[in-house]
Amino acid sequence: MTEHLRRHWFGYLIAFLVLALPLYASNFFMRSIATRALILGLVASSLVFLFKYAGMVSLAQTLLYGVAGFMVGNAVAEGGTRGMQLGWDAWVGMYFALGVTVVVASIFGAIASRTTGIYFLMLTLTYAVIGFFFFGQVTTFSGFGGISGVTPPDVLQSSVRVFYAAAIVSILVYVGFRAIARTPFGLALQGIRDDPVRMASLGFNVPLHRTMGFVLAGLVAGLAGVLNIWWKGQIDPQSIAIARTIDVLIIAVIGGISSLEGAWLGAVVFVAANNYLRTIPFIDELGLTEARFRTVIGILVLAIVVLSPEGLTGVIQRAYQWVRRKVAKPMREPLKKEAIDSS
C-alpha cells in the first residue's frame, strides 16, 4: 500500500486538487475553464488511448462525441423546432445516446480496421467531415441550427455538480484505460500495434481487436459528448466541424500524444490559452490578440512536434528527472548512514 502511494502520490495529489477546486476557484473558472478542459481532455484521452495502445491516430473521436451529444439532444429536448424531440427522461437519453455511439463506432471501426497508420488517420478524418455535413444537412436529427434547450438530469442541475461528474468520469476513465492496458485484451492490442502479422499468425483476430479498441475509445468519447451537452444545454454541427476535430488532435499533441495524463494537461493549456491569451501584457503589440489564438496554438504545436515529440508531459518528465538528479546527490550521504544504523 505504501509502495503504491509512493509511486502514485503525484496522481493522488492532482486528483485531490481537482476535486477540491470548488473551494478555491472562481465560478467563471469552474464553469468555463475547468469543466470544459475536463470534457475536452476526455475526448483527447480516447484519442491517446487508441494511439498509445493500438497505434491508431483516430480523428473520428470528435464525431463520436458529437453523435452522443446529438442523440441526447434528440432524445431529451421537447418543444424545439428541430430534431426528433422525443422528450425522454435524461438518463434514458444518456443510455440511448451511448448505445447509438457504440453502434456507429462499431461500423466505423469495422470499416477502418483493415487500414493502418496514415491511412487510418485520413479515413477517420473523412468520417469526421462526413459526419459534420450529415448533421448539418439532415434536419431530422439537427440541421445547421443545432438543438437547444437540453436539460441535464435533476442531480446535475448546478454547474458545480456537472463539474464533479466530469472530474469523476475523467478519473475513472484514466484509471480504467490504464487497467485495460494490462488485461489480456490490452496486451493483445499492444502486440497488434507492434507486429500485426505476427499476432495474426498467433491466432489473434487483428481487425476484431482493432474494432473493439475503437469501440471502447468511442464509448469514452460518447461519455464526453453526453457530459458536454449537459454542461452546455445545446449542440450544433459547428461543434464537430473540422476545426474542432483538429483541436482535439492538437490537445493530444500538446500534452503528449502517447501519454494519457497529457490529454487533460493539453486540454487545460488549450482552454487556458483560449481564455487568458489577451491578459498577457504587451501581447497585443505583437499582433497576437485573442482573435489570433489559432496562430499562437499552431505555432505552439509546431514547436512541440519539432522540439519535443512527447509533448508537455515529456518536458515535465525530463525537468522532474533533472531536478531529482540535482537534489538526490547531496541527500545520498545521510540516507546511507541511516540505512547502516537500522541494519
Binding site: 488517420l121 479515413l123 468520417y127 462526413i130 444537412q137 439532415v138 466541424a241 482573435a291 509546431l302 515529440p309
Partner: protein, 328 residues
C-alpha cells in the same frame, strides 16, 4: 449486383426525385452525368497534387486545402484589381487573361509557399509519416487563421471569363459552358502531368522514386531536388484547383477543410500515390456527388451526403488500400 440495382433505379424507377427516371427524362440524366464528370475534373486537379506528393515522399500534406485557399484568395484579389472593380463584377468584364493570369499567379504563390514549408519543416524528417502529418496540420491551422485575419470571413468568388460563359441546350436542358471549360482545364492538367511523368527524364526519375527510393538514390540521382520539384508541382496543382474552385463554388474560411476532405476521399478511393487512382477516384466521387441528390426521392434529398460514405465503405471493404493502391 449493387451497380445493377443503382442503374435500374436511375434508369427506370426513380419516380418522385428531382431528376425523374433517366428513361423518361434523358436530358436531366445527361446534365447530371455532365455535372459529375466536370466536378470530377476539378477534383482530379486538386487530388492529383496531393497524391503526387504522397506517392513520392510518403508525406501526407494536411495543408493541401490551405494551399488551395491561399491561391483562391490571391487569384480573386488579383482578378479584382485587373478588372478594376471589387464588387459586382459580371463575366462580361472579365477577359480570358483576367482569369488565366490570376489563376497562374495564385498557383505560383501556393507552390512557393508549399516549397518553403517543405524546405523548412519537412525536408529533414522524411519517412516519419505521423510527425509530418502533424506538422502540416499545424501549418494549416496557422495559415487558416492568417487568411481569416487578412481576407475576412465573407465568401468571395472569382468570375469566369466572359468568353466561356454561355449556355447551350442538350435534349431540352440548359447547360453552362463554364463547367465544360473547367473540365477542359482539368484535361489539360492531366495531359501535362501524363507527358511530364512518362516522357521527360525527371518524370521517369519520379516514377522510379515512387517504386524504390533507395535504388534511385543509389544510382546517383539527387533525389532532394526531385523532392523539391515534386512538392512545388503538387502545391501548384492545389493552387490551380484553388482558382478553379473559387470560380466554381467560391472561397471562404472552411473551404480549405472541405477541399482537403475532397482530396482525401478521392485518394482513399483511388489509392494513395497513384495518378490513375486519382482519376478513377475523382470520377467515382464526382458521379456519386452529382447523382445522389438528383436521384434520391425529394423528401430524402438531404441524405445524399451518406452516399459519399457508402462509396468509401464499399471500396474499402473490397480493397483496403483503394482501387489502385498498394499496401506498404
Amino acid at each position: 449486383m449493387l451497380l445493377a440495382l443503382v442503374l435500374a433505379w436511375v434508369l427506370f424507377l426513380a419516380e418522385g426525385t428531382a431528376a425523374e427516371p433517366a428513361f423518361s427524362d434523358p436530358g436531366e440524366f445527361l446534365v447530371t452525368v455532365l455535372d459529375g464528370i466536370t466536378l470530377a475534373g476539378l477534383l482530379f486537379v486538386v487530388a492529383s497534387g496531393f497524391t503526387l506528393i504522397f506517392g513520392l515522399m510518403r508525406t501526407v500534406n494536411m495543408a493541401h486545402g490551405s494551399l488551395f485557399l491561399v491561391a483562391a484568395y490571391i487569384a480573386i484579389d488579383m482578378q479584382q484589381s485587373m478588372v478594376g472593380k471589387t464588387r459586382s463584377i459580371v463575366s462580361e468584364d472579365v477577359a480570358l487573361a483576367d482569369w488565366v493570369l490570376p489563376m497562374l499567379a495564385g498557383a505560383t504563390v501556393a507552390a512557393v509557399l508549399g516549397l518553403v514549408a517543405y524546405h523548412l519543416l519537412l525536408r529533414w524528417n522524411q519517412g516519419q509519416e505521423l510527425q509530418q502529418a502533424l506538422i502540416t496540420v499545424a501549418v494549416s491551422v496557422i495559415v487558416a487563421d492568417q487568411l481569416l485575419a487578412r481576407f475576412g470571413g465573407l465568401a468571395e468568388t472569382m468570375i469566369w471569363p466572359g468568353s466561356v460563359t454561355h449556355f447551350f441546350e442538350i435534349l431540352g436542358s440548359r447547360y453552362a459552358t463554364t463547367r465544360l471549360f473547367m473540365l477542359g482545364v482539368a484535361l489539360l492538367v492531366a495531359l501535362g502531368l501524363w507527358i511530364w511523368l512518362t516522357k521527360t527524364r525527371m518524370g521517369i526519375v519520379i516514377r522510379a522514386g515512387v517504386d524504390d527510393q533507395e535504388m534511385v538514390r543509389a544510382l546517383g540521382v539527387r533525389i532532394s531536388v526531385v523532392f523539391a520539384v515534386t512538392f512545388f508541382v503538387g502545391a501548384f496543382l492545389a493552387g490551380v484547383g484553388g482558382a478553379m474552385g473559387a470560380s466554381f463554388a467560391g472561397a471562404a474560411p472552411g473551404t480549405d477543410g472541405a477541399w482537403l476532405l475532397n482530396s482525401l476521399v478521392v485518394v482513399i478511393i483511388g489509392g494513395l500515390g497513384s495518378l490513375k487512382g486519382a482519376a478513377a477516384g475523382s470520377l467515382l466521387f464526382g458521379m456519386v456527388t452529382a447523382m445522389s441528390p438528383a436521384y434520391l426521392p425529394i423528401e430524402y434529398n438531404f441524405y445524399s451526403i451518406i452516399f459519399t460514405f457508402v462509396l468509401l465503405a464499399v471500396v474499402l471493404a473490397v480493397r483496403p488500400y483503394g482501387l489502385f493502391g498498394r499496401p506498404e
